[in-house]
């Protein structure tokens, strides 16, 4: 899941194919189609069918054990005036923004360290990636215990250094930052791994010649490392963003959107509407809008990335 968006959208796309190349490509395509068909069948069955169904339900007043009738775009109209929904959008965007940014910063720093040679590096890397491998629900439950304002270990640790106890996920003002802390803890390793991949391919020569020119560490980072890992950071951003937008397990298991609606993201609200209020029609409309939002943001990022990519190419000698 990590790697590959840029491949399609970076290297293959954007460049107009020459006529000769194009016919060649068509020929090759025929050869490879059979390899693709089983996956397409599976993907279609598990995504297109549910999607058609969701669209169909989104134009109906459909509650479990209640009505089921066509209402046109009424559900969508309701979304426009639903204050809880617009609030959830802001929560989602805020949550996503920091859940991308913080792992990005820490992940890059961690990668710079982990890239160096030191004893037991393999073991350290193994331990470092544990959080992203662990079961989110299980992790979330342990965090909940740690966040407890009176009995949790976090406030105890703060008290040791003289900071007064915090409300963490139990206070509306701190709930989203606290959840982002968990998200950052869990997903920093992913960003680091992607950046490590970038660092691994940087050739040694530029550094050597920079050293001969007397460049300092910062100069080397700024003018050699940074441009080289930038494309990888963009991949990390896109992957992290899709996941953060859809984040469910952690929020659901820790706060279920509370206190009040202070941490209610679109996904959590969608769950409440569909599975607590049993309003499947309205829930489907939310799902459709949510999906459009996720795709729109992701595509915007992809386009941005491609632009960046081309600027770099243009800038290259």
């Amino acid at each position: 899941m990590t790697i590959d968006l840029h491949a399609e959208f970076g290297s293959a796309a954007g460049r107009p194919a020459l006529p000769k190349e194009r016919s060649h490509k068509r020929l090759r395509s025929r050869r490879f189609w059979p390899f693709l068909v089983p996956a397409l069948i599976v993907l279609t069955a598990i995504t297109v069918v549910p999607w058609a169904f969701t669209l169909w339900m989104s134009v109906r007043e459909f509650t479990v054990g209640g009505t089921n009738e066509f209402v046109g775009l009424a559900n969508y109209a309701r979304l426009l005036v639903d204050a809880r929904f617009s609030e959830a959008i802001w929560h989602t965007l805020f949550y996503t923004f920091l859940s991308v940014l913080l792992p990005l910063i820490f992940g890059t720093l961690a990668a710079l360290v982990l890239h160096r040679e030191f004893p037991l590096r393999g073991l350290v890397r193994g331990i470092f990636v544990l959080p992203m491998m662990a079961t989110p629900v299980a992790i979330a439950l342990v965090w909940t215990m740690m966040f407890h304002p009176q009995l949790g270990v976090l406030n105890y640790l703060l008290s040791l250094v003289g900071i007064e106890p915090q409300g963490w996920v139990f206070h509306p003002a701190t709930v989203i930052p606290s959840l982002i802390l968990v998200e950052t803890w869990q997903w920093t390793p992913l960003v680091a791994l992607i950046v490590l991949g970038g660092l691994a391919v940087i050739p040694r020569e530029p550094y050597e010649s920079a050293e001969i020119d007397g460049a300092g560490a910062w100069m080397k980072f700024r003018y050699i490392t940074w441009p080289m890992i930038l494309p990888f950071l963009m991949i990390a951003v896109i992957i992290r963003m899709i996941d953060a937008l859809k984040s469910f397990d952690i929020i659901y298991a820790i706060t279920q959107g509370g206190p009040g609606t202070a941490s209610e993201t679109i996904n959590i609200y969608l769950y409440s509407v569909a599975f607590s209020y049993y309003n499947i029609g309205y829930g489907s409309a939310i799902a459709v809008v949510f999906f459009v939002l996720v795709v729109a943001i992701s595509l915007a990022m992809l386009v941005l990335r491609q632009k960046l990519h081309w600027n770099e190419m243009a800038g290259a000698p």
Binding site: V113, R125, G126, P131, L193, F221, F232
Partner: protein, 278 residues
Amino acid sequence: MIVAGGGSLLVRRLTLLLSVLAIVSPAILFFLWMLSLSLKYEIDNAAYPPVFFPDRIAWKNYASVFESNGFLSIFWNSVIVTGSATLIALLVGVPAGYAIARMKATKMAAVVLIARMTPGLSYLIPLFLLFQWLGLLGTLAPQIIAHLVLTVPIVIWIMIGYFETTPMDLEEAAAIDGASSWQVFRHVALPIAKPGITVALILAVIFSWNNFVFGIVLAGRQTRTLPVAVYNMISFEQLSWGPLAAAALIVTFPVLVLTVFAQRQIVAGLTAGAVKDG
């Protein structure tokens, strides 16, 4: 090296050591605390200031998880669901990744991407009704099929990345010698891509094993998987942080072991996949 500063060798060594400690401590401290919670009685778990090293160890937290009804069958359910979803994903995903990489089929990759962007929740109701209509509820099939939503895209993406990095000279040579596309794939491309398949397998296993959302609605009494079972341990009217932490650790344990043993492949695979664009 990349961020190496000035100063004496000793200072640099020390800085590196401290940085490494800073990087791994969040993970280490968290899992140690989780372990500690799982080994304490409730009264110590809810104590303040927190008890780090209890006087008595509550092995019974683990015993109670293993004794709780159907733990083994729940574990087995998880194994079957994750195993099948991963296997199917590899069977269809590896050839698909190969085809997309060789065809440079950008649009196809985007379609796969959209499957990944879809919020898992929006699959739930349609799939529930669909499976009920098919009479499959009560079996593990609904969850296996739902988990394909997670595993197939992962496998395809990893494999696209991998196949793009493998050299095509051999394949072309084989094709000129008259090998069929299948033969080229089976005997030339596949063996080279083994490390990529390993990574795809590991990640598919982890994502499927950890999945929680599908289980909430699609799993029944006999088809529950571990993450759902753990969440269900938050029992009403009873405090049970200890058993909860024990269960959480048990669920995560297989994945953690897999990570520690296969960290070399995971790290190498995740990074190597990204190499080609560099």
